[in-house]
């Protein structure tokens, strides 16, 4: 273990020496990719995400029925019937069974994947953009604007996460769009803080001082110098945040405040069927496991990304 440590340490020291804001970005990313692929859990995460993306993209093709259509002759809460696994031919085939509204569950779960990806990415992007703007202004300008913005962030952070989201949705009205808005708002402080601390640390570096001496406008400095280097922690936090967002939207839908029927969203599927745990457990387990796997994928990938992009970490 000692010798391994030595080698790795020397390696990482080299990395540290080499990595700096002056290094061309492509090398950083190639290195990151290389290290990412070395780590098993990150690869697993990548595979999970890849599967999810494929499923989401191909949902219209893979689905056997329309996810919203009520099947007139299907019996509610039928367990899964797969002919290949022994279900008699007389019964119509439904891979995941029928849900409580006589709809094909398999198709709903597939379209749910689409919706979850959309939810995660859209919300986080919104949060990152808004949060970074606020954090960057706060960090770069300093002074009273810094104080003001950070106090507002503190107030937002002081609320229990879910409660604030519930309150915002209750005011705006239940619905997927409003739920996304609520969660985006609640996620902003985290990104604002990250952006601000990145900006603060990079602000004092030589090349920024040089730019300032040259009279480059603050906006240009922010966008061309500071933000690209603050990108890394933001991306990592963003990837990990997608998982949180998906969980939060599911929680809001579970409470009846997020996606509304007949939208095929996993959280609302859990909510609708939660009292059927005795007689139709498949309706609960499948969306629950789906959410878990999705969030797991994002978390594993995000972890791997963080490890790969962070030069200081012992590898």
């Amino acid at each position: 273990m000692n010798t391994c440590n030595n080698e790795q340490q020397m390696e990482s020291e080299n990395e540290i020496a080499n990595i700096g804001p002056t290094q061309a970005p492509s090398n950083l990313w190639m290195d990151a990719l290389h290290h990412l692929l070395e780590k098993r859990s990150a690869v697993v995460g990548l595979i999970l995400l890849g599967t999810l993306a494929i499923v989401a993209l191909l949902a219209p093709v893979l689905a056997t029925h329309d996810p919203i259509e009520i099947l007139r002759d299907a019996k509610r809460n039928t367990p899964p019937c797969i002919h290949f696994l022994g279900c008699p031919e007389t019964q119509s085939q439904h891979y995941f069974g029928i849900d409580g509204n006589s709809r094909d569950f398999f198709s709903r779960v597939l379209y749910g994947a689409r919706l979850s990806l959309l939810i995660g990415i859209v919300t986080i992007t919104g949060s990152i953009i808004l949060g970074t703007m606020l954090g960057a202004i706060s960090g770069y300008a300093g002074g009273w604007s810094d104080n003001l913005i950070m106090r507002i962030m503190d107030v937002l952070l002081a609320f229990p996460y879910l409660l604030l989201a519930i309150a915002v949705v209750a005011v705006l009205g239940p619905g997927l769009r409003n739920a996304l808005l609520a969660i985006a708002i609640v996620e902003i402080p985290a990104f604002a803080r990250i952006a601000r601390s990145s900006v603060l640390s990079i602000k004092e570096m030589d090349f920024v001082t040089a730019d300032r001496a040259l009279g480059v406008s603050p906006a240009r400095i922010l966008f061309r110098r500071i933000l690209p280097n603050a990108m890394t922690p933001l991306i990592v936090a963003g990837t990990l945040g997608i998982g949180t967002v998906i969980l939060s939207v599911a929680a809001l839908s579970f409470l009846g405040l997020g996606a509304q029927p007949p939208t095929p969203e996993w959280g609302i599927m859990l909510a609708e069927e939660r009292n059927n745990i005795f007689n139709a457990p498949h309706l609960l387990f499948i969306p629950g496991i789906a959410i878990t796997i999705t969030v797991l994928g994002f978390n594993l990938f995000g972890d791997g990304l963080r490890d790969a992009l962070d030069p200081r970490l012992n590898r």
Partner: protein, 585 residues
Amino acid sequence: MQRKMFYYLGITVLLISMILSACAQPAAPTQAPAPVATEAPTVPPPPPPTEAPAPVATEAPTEPPAAPAWEGKYNLSAPDCSYGGEFKAIEAVDQYTVKFTLCNPDPAFLQKVAFPAFGIQSAAYLEKTGGGGDLLSAPIGSGPFMVKEWVRGDHLTLAPNPNYWGEQPKNKEFIMRWNAEAAARLLEIQAGTADAIDNPGPDDLANIQADPNLKLLARPGNNVFYLGMNDTIPPFDNEKVRQAVAMAIDKQRIVDNYYPAGSVVADQFVPSFMVPGYVDGYKWYDYDPAAAKALLAEAGFPDGFEVTLSYRDVVRVYLPYPGKVAQELQSQLAQVGIKVKIVVKESGEMLQSVAAGKEPLFMMGWGADYPDPTNFYDFHFTGASKNFGEPFPDLMEAIRAAAYNADPAQRTLLYGKVAELVKQHVPMVPVAHGTNFIVYKATVENPEASPLADEMFNLMSVPGQDQFIWIQNGEPISLYCSDETDGETFRACYHIFDHLYWYKPGTTDLQPAAAESYTVNKELTEWTFTLRQNNKFSDGTAMDANDVVQTFVVQWDASHPLHVGNTGVFEYFAGYFAAFLNAPK
């Protein structure tokens, strides 16, 4: 490290308790106004007739001091009936006789006073608590049980009332608990930690019936689920459109798929055991999408139209699957060209919006409070409620005529006319009468299912067990039921209080309770009740006519100092008896 955590926790606890104590109220809530009365409200029992002093010979026999004349201290009469309410006068004629004089005939008066909101309170206790405060949490009643312990949020324990006039409860402790999740309630009874539960989920019924340790009983549906339309909002201002919608709904499919076994299709607004009121052999429109489409074309909508359908996602006995039924309705209306956008509204918002008459098309229902059709028709179609927009004058007229009629045979005919008018005007489409269920452990003796959800748990017991544990949907809000409105609260109250008349277990038939008998005049405007004598409250004081009168008067007179309650709305009094005396403008 764990020490640090204790440290954090300790500091937190300390800080919180310091903050809280700075804000701590004295132990008793200070809500109640200072008691007003200076005289002792209860009439002291007449002193025993004094014996003539033993060596009495010389004195002229003095009459024993007259027992203080009993007086009806709380009697109240309205100057006239112009204030708009049903009561003209409430009087204690003598110590055990109470007379209600009404402004209009009311064939359902007996059912109305047999309602949990009108449990008889002790006039002395009303005075002492100022009409609120302790009255809400530490009630004194004359029913089979009294409150032993109420741990808010967790359980309410009732113990037998030693002074009860009737048979003592068969169990030593009746413990009420609550859980909003049907699956959790079922879990508890299957695990054996409960003896009876309310409202199992409809999809679990098969499992329950297959379980030999459980017994499933059905409460026949005394409710109605309807699809409401507002006649002031286009296109529902067009009667043909409303009639078309009536033909477009496949009620049978909805009941078959989304209601538990035992529920029935609603062909009219009132359920079948509302007699008089329910019209036998009545037929609603047939399910006929083609005819509906044709009618829509006639009305000027050959291609249908777009509309929103709103509902609240709250499980009710009349609607166990709101979301699923909404989607089903959407799908059915689509078949005749009506494109429905489903809008789920938050419960409070939905109720407010419907009450303000703002929803064009909405899902709503009604549960019977008492078994008379006035409970159904009068609220909805005589202008009290704005749910359906403007009331129809001919329908209003017909309902009033049927309500104020004393002759049951006449009433039956009149309600037939009402049903016809409802079919013609279609303010709403009645869809289903939902059945709900109650689950008992198989070993429970005397299990009961009441159509009005008035199960009497003092009559039940489990052999080998002193306690009886019951789990319902929600917690009682307060124990002064005159100012409460939900069934969970009422269930506690009707075990603690007596009513003038009460239901025979498991039925909608009334039998004497606090009153032994009653008489009524031919016009149904004067109701005289003779009270049971020697009926005592749980604190030992006797009940007499003054208690009954005061119970009603503090609700009736809005200017009365004891007209306090929990929220001061006294909803059921206002609902049943039309108006308060001296109501503020």
